[in-house]
Amino acid sequence: ADSIKVAVVSFLTGPAAGPFGVPGRNGAELVIDAINEGAMPAPYGSAGFGGLKLEAIFADESGGNAKQVAEYRNLVEKQGVDAVLGYISSGSCLSIAPVAEELKTLTVMSVCGTPRLFEDSDWKYTFRTQAHAVGDSVAAALYIRDQLDDVKSYNGINQNYAWGQDSWKFFDIAMQKLIPGTTASDNPQFPQIFSGQYGTEISTLLLEDSDLIHSSFWDGDIEAFVLQASVRGFFQKKRFISVAGASAVDNLGKRFPEGTVIGTRGEFGILVRDREGELNEWFINAYRERYGVYPLESSYQYAQSVLALKAAMDKASADNGAAPDTDQIISAMTGLDFTSLAGDVSFALGKGHQAIHAVGYGITAWDDEKDKPTVTNVKIYPAHCILPPAGQLSEDWLAAGMPGSDC
């Protein structure tokens, strides 16, 4: 065959489609098309994936884990795809991995962040190009330590599901270890996901005297929260750190409060919008040209997965001749180091299947000159500072005070 068929799965309907799913899908599509045509800048200038054309089909991630598992089986067994790429929700990733193993299908996960994926088990067929959630939490705490000197106490508002719960938990531990003396509120808020009405939660947070509020809200929830909280002077009273809400910065424009600490779980999206570099500039320009908007964090994350596939397939075909098979691609990808759009990535954890990369944070500001939002005080924390070394479980590493993190 002179092509491989790859399914790209992301949220195409439902609340996660706008902020994550569709930008992610677009990022993948853009890069795939460019690589097929050989239009990417170096080091991805060669046409095709190990010489093969990649034929992408796009599938929806909505409907819950079970539906995703069923859908995955259909993609592989019915539609006959050679590899699957994508997935945003941790639940999808956790449930897909064992099936990927069963069906012996290469699966490159793009966004989901639960450390459990490679810490609970070893997978042969599954890779993840996104560093796991401990990274963004530790980086958040580091950033607070380094950039905000007035934080004595903190609280959180996180969605009531696994990612929200984990995100708060890791952040809390990291804060306790990195900034001893700060106190966590005993009343952290966990509103239901997509509930949209946060009046009561905002009152609760306002009545408390925590200095800083942590949130892993994303999608419409972060936007609704920001709108409702702004009017109530919330951001004048509290520092706010948002670990995954960067899509709202673009969507809300001027209404997004300045001075918010914002992260993109890597060197992605708005954090690197003004960064120089051939790949990054090409990506931003090509994306804007094709879709009319700036690429968001998930566009980068999906593109990063595609690049990992390209790098591995190029390597495999160089080692084994044209048209590498799945096992050859896997062995090429395992432990691979590759260049992403803005930064380097290496499959260093999970026996060479879990990528690590740097994570950055910055502070939002409105750029009057260019009339667009921007981020200042950007600080990037290298992977070894924010993630456990290979072979160590995140919880142990966090509990032990993050040995080896020397930032």
């Binding site: 309907t13 819950g64 884990n65």
Partner: protein
């Protein structure tokens, strides 16, 4: 018992139908096998809902039992390592049936929308507990490893499929026998006129309770089957109210006509969704919703009325 079962034409046809399915199953590629198994799993739960529907009761909370069955399988494996099909299904049925028995004491006093909504409230409490509890996997749930059959680990999907088909035969036969018993007919009586049932000397509450426990147990088994076929459990796709809604959806789509209708309905639904997903990833709900409206308009008795159409045509040809 077996003789009287075989004297029932529906039962004979059902068994024959499932036998054919089992045979044809050897030819199915994996994806069809999978979707059919999901369909059969839903079918079992829908069979239980059909029982309730015949009493005029619609439960918007059967995901409670479906989810319990599924989680029973997953937790059994997690805490004891057991993966045997008999233990798995036994656990699923016991947990769900037992819960149904307890909640039945409350729910048997409710009718109509209040029955539906109180069921939903109960199921949402379980949903909330699962979502909140890390030890139960929170929203991520668990993976379920492959099922062993009496110590044997099959290398293909087919043996599991066969076992599930066998289970469906047992369930349909049992339900059909029950429906044809006097107790089963009380179903319709209770829906029509409770006062009269009481005045004939039978307790309406008991009649409903029995039925409720049966349907809970069926839903539990269904959840167990789903967990085994899918290899995954999680609250959103097994316990949330949308799942209960989906089960009701299939029930109505299938129609109350027969004990096989649930399976036909569920398998159709499963394939409909698969194709809609594939053809229109952005608008598959439109297809599903449109189909639903179409069925309501043109097949008021559900998909089952198709079989009647066919048999009527056959008569005309003769």
């Amino acid at each position: 018992m077996i003789r009287s079962a075989l004297s029932d034409a529906t039962i004979r046809w059902t068994i024959a139908g499932f036998l054919v399915l089992a045979l044809v199953g050897t030819l199915f590629p994996n994806w069809i096998l999978n979707n059919t198994m999901f369909g059969l799993a839903y079918g079992l739960a829908v069979l239980g809902l059909l029982l309730l529907w015949r009493t005029g009761l619609v439960s918007f909370g059967h995901a409670l039992y479906f989810g319990m069955g599924a989680y029973a399988v997953a937790l059994l494996e997690r805490y004891t390592g057991a993966t045997d099909i008999v233990m798995r299904l036994g656990a699923a049925m016991t947990v769900a049936g037992g819960t149904g028995f307890v909640l039945g004491f409350v729910l048997r006093h409710y009718r109509g929308i209040f029955f539906a909504m109180l069921s939903m409230a109960f199921s949402m409490v379980l949903y909330g507990v699962l979502v909140k509890t890390e030890a139960l996997g929170s929203t991520d749930g668990f993976s379920v490893s492959q099922t062993t059959i009496l110590g044997w680990q099959p290398q293909s999907k087919y043996p599991l499929f066969l076992a599930i088909v066998g289970l469906c035969v047992i369930a349909t036969t049992g339900v059909q026998l029950y429906l044809h018993s006097a107790l089963g007919h009380l179903t319709t009586s209770v829906r029509d006129n409770e006062i009269r049932v009481e005045y004939l000397g039978y307790s309406v509450a008991t009649a409903i309770h029995v039925k409720y426990v049966i349907s809970a147990a069926l839903a539990g088994v269904a959840g167990g089957v789903m967990a085994m076929a899918l290899g995954q459990v999680d609250p959103d796709s097994m316990v949330n109210w949308t799942v209960s809604g989906e089960l009701v959806f299939i029930t109505i789509m299938a129609g109350p006509g027969s004990v096989v209708a649930p399976f036909i309905g569920a398998i159709t639904f499963e394939f409909l969704r698969t194709f809609a997903f594939e053809l229109a990833p952005h608008a598959w709900q439109l297809i599903v919703g449109g189909t639903l409206l179409g069925i309501i308009f043109f097949m008021p008795e559900g998909l089952w009325s198709l079989t009647r159409l066919i048999s009527r045509k056959r008569e005309k040809v003769r």
